[in-house]
Symmetry: C3
């Protein structure tokens, strides 16, 4: 009888605690490709990734210079490709990203290349193939660990 | 019999998994209006908001200047009012905020106006009407996406 | 009968919802002492700490100068000791930290002392006694609230 009870209970548990979805709230009246807020249900597994940094694109250049890692768009694509790879290794995709912080660098005396950052970002988020948008904060920092880096991106994902 | 079992189980589930509260730990010996740490129980729904930025207060001023958005206190109140509005749209309040990061700008050659930031912050947190305090980190960044912004604030809330 | 059912259900619940562990993913081919990603199960209690800052080490020095708080390694050890103390007060340890953000300052005209930061960090993470590694992002900010601070660290922990 006890065994029968446990079986019945296990069956009912999946009824009582159904899987809940991540809810991505958009900003009213805006088509800017970020979520206004992302709501993560209690039954979610959360995966916190370390900040990802760009790869060298020109091995002949001094690694302490931006030339070694490319311009802002190049570095953004490099960083997001690295994140996509990490997520894939964990059986996750860019569509599972719920939160992003982007730490950008403006070289001395130059304005921040936010447009270059967005050109990279929009290749991965808000596309027909991958419409899911994260909540996001972006700031210009004084620098990153390597003087050749223009961008570091930290994301959090939720296992679907 | 199976139906009766499921009903009994549903009743017992709410007994077995009671709603748990967010716990806000204060700093011993300090009345600084932030939590030392905030503890979020496993059964919480977490809502991650994008970084919020200030609104224009002087439409005649150049939007690339601080004059368009006001001083630090004005911009902080503007950003927190925007966050309060977003939370309200999601049926949440400032009392549900559990974590905050503030990214502040010190104009070239000037000191950070931390006092102005706190004057804005304390209108929303640690008041008689809204005593709940978030955990918080504050830093001076090199800049934000618009050169007119002095402050961007990112918060995380928990659905009560 | 109802009472008996509830007892049986409570017993089965702990079978049906076993405690799940935090999973720390390392970076393939790297021994750098951070996790590539940390996975937090749904049944975890998450504890968000406020950014921690250094303590004065030289009370005779002007508090608006780095001399009052010491060099990067000294300040990093001071901040992490403060975090360890906060965690202990909450019945947690450094081994429960799952995420870290470090906001570092490079004094005017000087390079960031990342080596000094790592010398402090590796006294607390990745040791024989405390092998658990957090996900981590590090950036150089333009400044912190006090002009004497070289480092502020924010961590998130999970209650074991």
């Amino acid at each position: 009888m006890r065994t029968a009870l446990v079986v019945a209970i296990s069956a009912s548990l999946s009824l009582a605690v159904p899987a809940q979805d991540v809810v991505r709230h958009s900003t009213p009246g805006s088509d800017f490709p970020i979520a206004r807020a992302v709501e993560v249900p209690a039954n979610a597994t959360t995966v916190y990734l370390s900040g990802a940094v760009p790869s060298v694109v020109d091995t002949t250049a001094d690694r302490a210079t931006f030339a070694a890692y490319g311009d802002m768009e190049t570095q953004t694509v490099s960083v997001l490709t690295s994140i996509e790879k990490t997520l894939a290794d964990l059986d996750l995709t860019m569509g599972d990203v719920i939160k992003m912080q982007a730490f950008l660098v403006a070289p001395d005396g130059e304005q921040l290349d936010f447009e270059g950052f967005m050109k990279g970002y929009t290749q991965f988020f808000g596309t027909a193939e991958q419409p899911n948008l994260p909540s996001r904060s972006v700031m210009t920092v004084a620098g990153l660990v390597s003087p050749g880096w223009l961008v570091e991106i930290e994301v959090t994902a939720v296992r679907p």
